[in-house]
């Protein structure tokens, strides 16, 4: 039980007085899982003849892959890469396992292997898509999980660094599957050569930023698990051989192995190869972790990417408190506030416009007034001028006839008629 941050999140830690019994829950889960059975999907990738079928048959001690049939020389080699799968229901100690092994014949066998990884990646993604589609169904009671839980990648025992095709494949797939690279045909290399080879492989993997599956220990594991994990980690990548045949050792015992003129290499001898470690990691200790990683990490990443790319937008409003009345009230208030805001805005705009018009009119008023004044002064001026002229004219000349007065009036009129 994880310790919580006290009362901050509202969860309190309580101590119990007696035995309640919910600690039996894991056993119930266990029983249910055993009844339901498990499934595990493994993919093997490597060039033809590198030992894929033999290793699978050896790992599960069952002939999952039949013997390779002898094809005549005229048979056309596979063009490109095929992806085929075999399923087997196997049982051990009452635990049922539906094992599916996906084979990839043709990988790396052509002259041009540039796109050899593509059909494999498409297959992996289509399995994710199938699962996604099932999750979105209305009736989800029966979901079939055939997502790839792990890919075992077979590396040729050259002794040098990784080949171009190895690097290309792993870079393309490491974010979509749990990648477990192994050194195939480990009986070709001496112990010293193997050590150097593994170091070169890991250097290449780290250099190219390739993520491979590694067992990690966290603080909850007991010391035995921690040391087991560390041992497994020290042997990665595993150098393995496989054999379906039994051979007789000098002391008479029969073991699974390969007989050479110079000796017998035993499959299950840890000093001869890392088969035991591979089996341990794959089946005995980390099968659950592989499935978990596929479900929680790899699948989720794929799903997120896919949905985002399809245009889904994460709407976080969905997650607030949902109470219909409150929501209606909120909506009403929001609407009202909006209306008020609009009103205020409009008023403000109106006011502004009115002011503008007023000031404009005022301006023109002033203008007119000024003009009026101007004209008046001009007029006054003219009048006074004319008055003067009149006086002068009267002074210089005798009393004028009424007819002579008229022209000046007429003149005056002319000036004023300018209005």
């Amino acid at each position: 039980m994880k310790a919580n941050a006290g009362n901050a999140s509202g969860i309190q830690k309580k101590k119990m007085q007696g035995y309640v019994g919910f600690s039996n829950y894991p056993n119930q889960v266990h029983r249910r899982s055993v009844k339901r059975g498990f499934n595990f999907t493994l993919m093997v990738v490597g060039e033809s003849g590198i030992g894929k079928s033999t290793l699978i048959n050896t790992l599960f001690d069952t002939k999952i892959f039949p013997d390779r049939e002898e094809m005549p020389p005229s048979a056309e080699p596979i063009k490109g890469v095929d992806v085929t799968s075999m399923s087997a229901d196997i049982q051990e100690n009452g635990v049922k396992l539906r094992l599916t092994v996906v084979d990839t014949p043709g990988f790396g066998d052509s002259i041009n292997n540039e796109d050899a990884w593509q059909p494999i990646l498409e297959n992996i993604e289509s399995r994710f898509d199938a699962y996604l589609a099932q999750e979105n169904r209305v009736n989800r009671s029966k979901i079939v999980d055939n997502r790839i839980d792990a890919v075992i990648y077979f590396i040729k025992p050259t002794g040098h660094c990784l080949r171009a095709i190895d690097i290309e494949f792993m870079k393309r797939l490491h974010t979509k599957v749990n990648l477990i690279p192994i050194v195939a045909k480990a009986d070709t290399l001496t112990a010293r050569e193997l050590e150097l080879f593994k170091a070169k492989i890991m250097a290449d993997i780290n250099y190219h930023g390739i993520q491979i599956f590694k067992p990690v220990s966290d603080e909850f594991d007991d010391p035995e698990t921690v040391s087991d994990n560390r041992e497994i980690l020290s042997k990665i990548p595993f150098a393995v051989i496989g054999s379906e045949k039994l051979v007789e050792r000098p002391d008479g015992t029969m073991v699974r192995g390969r007989r050479y003129p110079w000796g017998i290499i035993e499959v299950e001898n840890e000093e001869h190869n890392d088969f035991i470690k591979l089996r341990q990691m794959l089946l005995r200790s980390h099968m659950e972790e592989l499935k978990d990683s596929t479900d929680m990490v790899l699948y989720e990443n794929y799903r997120t990417q896919k949905l985002l790319s399809m245009g889904h937008v994460q709407d976080n409003n969905v997650f607030r408190e949902f109470n219909p009345l409150v929501q209606v009230e909120e909506e009403r208030r929001a609407h009202e506030a909006k209306m008020q805001k609009m009103e205020a805005e409009m008023t403000a705009v109106f006011q502004q416009k009115v002011q503008e018009k007023e000031s404009k009119l005022k301006l023109s008023e002033e203008e007119l007034y000024a003009r009026h004044k101007e004209m008046k002064t001009v007029l006054e001026k003219q009048r006074s001028e004319l008055d003067e002229k009149k006086k002068r004219a009267e002074a210089s000349v005798r009393p004028i006839t009424p007819m002579e007065q008229h022209p000046t009036k007429g003149k005056k009129k002319n000036i004023f008629s300018g209005f």
Partner: protein, 337 residues
């Protein structure tokens, strides 16, 4: 017809020609050129160094992550002079790093074929010179060790393409270098399979059957052809096995002695290449592959000249016939490659 005794009057003495030739050989020495064709990590360098019991070539494989993967096949010849019992050989090993190492290996054989043809061309050019050297330095490739992938069903598509082209220009000897990953049964099945496929694709590997062969030659050749492809293990290390030094490999489950016939065909390969068929390899290169090349080249030159003459005559160019210049051998053959 019984041969008279060496010191009698009737003894002519032309049978000493073999000794005369030997002396000539000792003085002059000879060239032997071998090309290694196979992907990186197949064991080419180790095998060659084992055959000649000396560190002649370094492995050109990628050693660190920072090294870039080669984008094309490179040709890197290394020449050394070896001497054994007064006999000198100018040995050239031509490695082909980058062959078959990329994702897309289309055309990765082109630099190899070109190199082999270039050597034929160079030899032809020197032969056709009005003033020839007395001894032409023979850079023609006498043998090609082609490295097969152990464990494959048979020949891979790349193998078929390359072998078809290689066998047209040089003597090809197919080998499986890291054969310690195959049990005896697997080896037998694989060899049978390869032989079937070679016949099916009409790929002629060395040694070639020939009518000139005497009875014992024929037996020898057929026993060698039985072994093809040679399943060998190479080693540059001498390890200690119960006090005796052994050239081999030490595993946790046993020690491989490369000279042990039960462990590998190494001894057969070495004897075949050096002890019995060395001069034959050189001779066949000269008589078969070089002659083929020469014939096709000269024919092409003849055609070209005829075309030029026709063009000159019809084009109305005044007077002069095309010059009797030395033929542009390299230029022509490049268009063939």
């Amino acid at each position: 017809m019984s041969a008279p005794a060496n010191d009698s009057q009737d003894y002519v003495g032309f049978d000493t020609i073999t000794q005369q030739m030997e002396r000539k050989f000792l003085k002059r020495g000879f060239n032997f050129n071998v090309i290694l064709v196979g992907e990186s990590g197949m064991g080419k360098s180790t095998l060659v160094n084992s055959i000649f019991s000396s560190h002649l070539v370094d492995s050109q494989g990628r050693r660190t992550a920072q090294e870039v993967i080669r984008k094309t096949t490179e040709i890197s010849p290394v020449t050394q002079t070896l001497e054994e019992n007064g006999v000198r050989v100018r040995l050239t090993i031509i490695d082909t790093p980058g062959f078959g190492d990329q994702c897309n290996n289309e055309g990765c054989w082109v630099p190899v074929i070109k190199y082999i043809k270039d050597q034929h061309a160079a030899y032809l050019e020197r032969e056709l010179k009005p003033q020839r050297d007395r001894v032409i330095n023979d850079t023609r490739v006498h043998a090609c060790l082609y490295f097969l992938n152990p464990g494959s069903r048979g020949l891979r598509p790349l193998d078929v393409e390359v072998l078809k082209r290689l066998t047209e220009v040089t003597n090809v000897i197919p080998v499986i270098a890291k054969s310690d990953s195959m049990t005896v049964e697997e080896r037998t099945v694989f060899k049978r399979r390869i032989k079937e496929e070679l016949v099916f694709h009409r790929i002629a590997v060395y040694p070639y059957p020939s009518e000139e062969d005497g009875e014992e030659d024929r037996l020898l050749n057929s026993s060698i052809r039985d072994l093809v492809p040679f399943a060998v293990v190479g080693s540059e290390e001498i390890i200690d096995v119960n006090g005796t030094p052994v050239r081999g490999r030490r595993h946790g489950w046993g020690v491989i002695n490369i000279f042990d016939e039960a462990h590998s065909d190494f001894v057969h390969l070495r004897n075949f290449m050096l002890r019995t068929h060395l001069s034959d390899l050189i001779e066949v290169t000269s008589q078969r592959h070089y002659e083929q090349f020469r014939t096709s080249q000269l024919r092409q030159i003849k055609e070209l000249r005829a075309q030029q003459a026709a063009a000159a005559a019809s084009g109305g160019i005044m007077g002069s016939m095309p010059q009797q210049a030395p033929p542009q051998v390299p230029a022509i053959h490049q268009s063939m490659a």
